[in-house]
């Protein structure tokens, strides 16, 4: 189960502006940016267990929101997902795994931690047809590899 957590509007401005600045310095103009944390919890549990983890463990109810079915309202944004490779120790994932056990009394098979970046090209919508038909996406991929991920230890997917 993939749990996605993000900062509520009104609290996330600095983080988003910082990301736009970083990408701009790396040569990519971005119109808007949103950030999320991703927790992939490997367990065959009822949905209610994951809801409890979302609200009781992973998200701060005052400043953050979360979802078990993806982040809504970001049509037209590119979604960049960055995960540590399976061969790399995921320290945050390990800690969350222990915490999950403490909260539910059940241990998942594993927890992996990742990040999602939602980026909108300035002044235009994302075209249909994928990377081949979209030079901006190709450029985005190159800049992400230089700024947000290290492909020696991480995997990157862009959709």
């Amino acid at each position: 189960m993939l749990i996605e957590i993000w900062t509520r509007d009104g609290y996330s401005g600095n983080e988003e502006a910082g990301l736009i600045d970083r990408l701009s310095r790396a040569g990519l103009e971005v119109g808007a940016a949103k950030l999320s944390r991703l927790y992939n919890i490997d367990a065959a549990w009822p949905r209610g267990h994951f809801k409890r983890l979302l609200s009781g463990l992973l998200a701060d109810p005052i400043t953050e929101k979360g979802s078990l079915s993806g982040r809504p309202g970001l049509d037209g944004f590119y979604r960049v997902e960055v995960w540590l490779k399976r061969s790399a120790t995921d320290v945050v994932g390990e800690s969350v795994r222990e915490a999950v056990h403490d909260v539910l009394g059940l241990a998942p098979r594993g927890v992996r931690f990742g990040r999602a970046y939602y980026l909108a090209a300035p002044g235009r919508r994302k075209p249909a047809g994928g990377a081949a038909a979209d030079p901006y996406q190709a450029r985005l991929r190159a800049v992400v590899a230089r700024t947000l991920a290290n492909e020696i230890v991480q995997t990157v997917t862009i959709a």
Binding site: R22, R25, A26, K85, S87, A88, T89, V91, E94, S95, R146, T147, N150, I152, V153
Partner: protein, 793 residues
């Protein structure tokens, strides 16, 4: 390659080198031949684990072959030979100084000096580098660098409690326009990752990160330098460690995985486009915190006889080192693993983090287990130390290593290295002024090597443990650049009535090293000592760490610079009476770009200095305190703009580095310290990068006061220009604000020394500098501060 390895003893030198490259050992041809000849004589082929063990144990990272090996140094017609460069320079100074307060030097994971007045405590100090890992994966590299040096402190003697982390970084310029090779990470990316890694590890461990520096130069574009240090307190009776035959080999902390395989040998290789991801290490601060808590409890109950950390080389290095006098029997099937697909030899050399090895008497194991379980800290018993002086490692019935300890530790061949010195062309022509002084000052204040580091420093928790008395950011607004950190380690000693503390500072000057490596060493030691003076530390008890980073020592010019810098360290240590207590070196900091061009770093020497502060309540900061107080300059301003930041911004065509008069500096610093102790000095700040004008500006805007100075009264060499007075970086100078009520006493204490009143603090928020009635600059301190306080991150 497996086929080639299966007939190792019959390979010729060329085949051995091919095998070495394929297996990533980084052994030299001579070392490979030595290993081959050993196994030939033994009448058998080696096991893979044996060659891996030799590669780790004989690596530059573990053995420091370059620094401790023979060198033939040539400068012009003069030739000098060293049998062991390290012992004949750095260690020699310590031996000749023979300070009784040095409790343990050059023999353990860190140096230890006496702390406090009751003889109960030792202060352990160590700095490390983690350069190659940070070039490949900055976040993980920095985290594991911090974790490693903390474990050095945990593993010194029977364990010291860490009370301070330090961090010093070198990166390429963030605005560099140089084209990077395909797989290289950009300077900003490395910078951001390293800072994040240091922050996350130090903060999660509950250790303050409170002393450091950042240096930008395009020489570090492909090879960043990440120096991480740690200081800790240890009871004096817990300094000696001993392994006894029969002691159990107990591994505590993290599990063993494939991460970090060949880290030690990787650091002896040039980074290129084929660098393997297996060299990347991942840190886990929470696991290390558990280890820390276990060690502190078990140490105080005397539950182990010796310990050391698993650093480079993993089990192979830690167990090999602890068992070097006894021998060891290791059963790798007992190791706790992260994954089951790992080969036995990989378990043996893996550099998975947060692991420490303890030598535990079997009778004390149950009590230790109680503590380990109560702290939720994983552990395993890997075997026992023997008395046969052999290293026998097995995995179930499979032999992994079966070697005598004396070959493992003493078999590495020593090869003489050629060193040569070719001095660069030095110009002593009068420096040309290229811009109005006020504009130049603003430019210097915004230069990346001078501007505020607040965006980095504020990410670190420098308050945890509640003992950071003099903080990295100081002054009326809590944002002025401090010279040294002062720590009151009551969290370790448990005493809030004893106000004894210590100060930590650094000296670093690769720009001077490009011109004269010998003077660079002198300047760096002087800067570190000068910074200690500025907070009121007892500099007669200064102890030093040396951390050298250089390009490939196969280049005679690199070795020549190293020899000169090491000689400089010797002379500086003797001159300041400050022994070196520990150190480290890192070579092969050079990379080949996509066009096949090598990019070596400049010779880089970080001097870290520690000195006691008898009463932390009397330590002082650098910000101006009160309008009307007189300002004094201590130390002589000399000719020369060599190595200055001004020269980088506006080339004056003068690159002369002035000599350093250590005797004069020691006299001046001693007098200043007496004045500080007498309460005459309210603020002190050293003159370093950017020169006197930058020092005055920083003191002014940090205190929220202006200053007016006339530099015609400054102690100076005859003929020194206004430009050199304002922006020259000649060493051994400190600006001090003196309490006007105690000015007479100050003058009495500094009489006969090059210490002169140059002006006073003023309420008006302007910095005004003149020279005998001629105005040099007049700037609003708020404008100066705005230029200085740029965001680096």
């Amino acid at each position: 390659m497996e086929e080639l390895f299966s007939r190792f003893t019959s390979l010729n030198e060329k085949e051995l080198v091919r095998l070495d490259k394929a297996f990533g050992w980084s052994l030299s041809a001579a070392e490979l031949v030595q290993a081959r000849d050993y196994f030939r004589k033994a009448g058998r082929e080696p096991f893979r684990g044996e060659l891996e063990s030799l590669a780790q144990t004989w690596s530059e990272h573990c053995k420091h072959k370059t620094f401790s090996g023979p060198v033939r140094f040539r400068s012009g017609r003069k030739v000098k030979k060293y049998r062991n460069l390290f012992k004949e320079t750095i260690v020699r100074a310590t031996r000749e100084l023979d300070r009784s307060w040095c409790l343990s030097v050059f023999k353990d994971n860190a140096g230890i000096v006496e702390f406090g007045s009751d003889g109960k405590w030792g202060l352990a100090f160590k700095a490390e580098t983690h350069n190659h890992p940070c070039a490949v994966e900055p976040y993980g590299g920095a985290e594991t660098g911090v974790g490693g040096v903390i474990r050095d402190i945990l593993g010194v003697g029977l364990g010291a409690k860490p009370v301070l982390n330090t961090d010093n970084f070198c990166f390429g310029r963030l605005d560099s326009k140089k084209k990077l090779p395909k797989n290289a990470l950009g300077a900003e990316r490395i910078f951001r990752g390293v800072v994040d890694g240091v922050r996350d590890y130090g903060n999660r461990m509950g250790i303050p990160t409170a002393a450091g520096g950042i240096y930008f130069d395009d020489g570090y574009l492909l090879n960043p330098l990440v120096y991480v240090g740690c200081a800790g307190l240890i009871p004096a009776e817990k300094i000696e460690k001993k392994v006894r035959p029969g002691d159990l080999i107990v591994s505590i902390g993290g599990r063993t995985g494939r991460d970090g395989i060949h880290g030690a040998t990787f650091s002896s290789a040039n980074i290129d486009e084929e660098t393997s991801s297996s060299a990347v290490q991942i840190g886990h601060a929470i696991n290390e915190k558990k280890v820390l808590d276990v060690i502190m409890r078990a140490r105080d109950r005397g539950l182990y006889g010796a310990l050391t950390d698993c650093g480079a080389g993993g089990f192979s290095s830690a167990i090999g080192e602890l068992g070097s006098e006894t021998g060891a029997r290791v059963r790798l099937e007992n190791a706790r693993l992260k994954d089951t697909g790992i080969e036995p030899w990989e378990i043996w050399v893996s550099e998975s983090q947060e692991r420490m090895i303890l030598a535990v008497s079997p009778g004390k194991m149950p009590a230790l287990e109680d503590i380990l379980n109560s702290e939720n800290c994983e552990y395993c018993v890997l075997g026992e130390f023997t008395g046969d002086k052999r290293l026998l490692v097995t995995f179930n019935s499979e032999t992994v290593v079966d070697l005598p300890m004396d070959f493992l530790h003493g078999g590495v061949p020593s090869v003489e290295k050629a060193a040569v010195h070719r001095p660069p062309r030095i110009s002593r022509r009068p420096p040309a002024s290229r811009a109005p002084h006020g504009r130049a000052l603003r430019e210097l204040l915004s230069h990346p090597n001078i501007c505020s580091r607040h965006s980095v420093i504020t990410q670190y928790d420098h308050e945890v443990q509640g003992g950071t008395v003099i903080k990295p950011l100081q002054g009326r607004y809590g944002d002025g650049p401090g010279d040294a950190a002062v720590i009151w380690p009551h969290a370790a000693t448990g005493s809030v009535r004893d106000h004894a503390g210590f100060a930590v500072a650094h000296g670093f000057n690769p720009a001077a090293g490009r011109l004269d490596p010998y003077l660079m060493a002198l300047y760096s030691v002087d800067e570190a000592v000068r910074n200690l003076v500025c907070v009121g530390a007892e500099i007669s008890r200064t102890a030093l760490l040396d951390n050298f980073c250089a390009a490939s020592p196969a280049a005679p010019e690199v070795m020549g610079s190293l020899v000169l810098a090491a000689e400089g360290c010797y002379d500086a240590a003797m001159g300041y009476g400050a022994p070196f207590i520990s150190g480290k070196d890192s070579f092969y900091n050079q990379s080949r770009d996509a066009y096949g061009k090598d990019h070596p770093i400049p010779l880089s020497l970080l001097i870290s200095a520690v000195a006691p502060v008898a009463d932390v309540r009397r330590a002082i900061t650098m910000d101006l305190k009160r309008a009307g107080n007189p300002l004094y300059l201590a130390g002589v301003s000399r000719k020369g703009m060599g190595g200055s930041v001004y020269n980088e911004v506006h080339d004056t065509r003068n690159n002369y580095l002035c000599p350093l008069d250590i005797k004069a500096a020691v006299g001046t610093y001693g007098a200043l310290l007496r004045a500080i102790k007498a309460g005459c000095v309210l603020a002190a700040h050293d003159v370093s990068q950017g020169g006197l004008a930058v020092t005055l500006a920083e003191m002014s805007f940090s205190g929220g006061f202006g200053a007016v100075v006339d530099l015609s009264s400054a102690p100076s060499e005859k003929g020194v220009s206004a430009l050199e007075l304002l922006f020259g970086e000649s060493p051994s100078r400190i600006v001090v604000e003196v309490s006007r009520e105690k000015e007479t006493e100050f003058r009495r204490l500094t009489g006969g020394l090059p210490v002169a009143r140059i002006g006073s603090v003023q309420e008006r928020p302007e910095l005004e500098a003149g020279l005998g009635g001629r105005g040099l600059l007049k700037e609003d301190i708020l404008v100066l501060k705005r230029d200085w306080k740029r965001e680096l991150l």
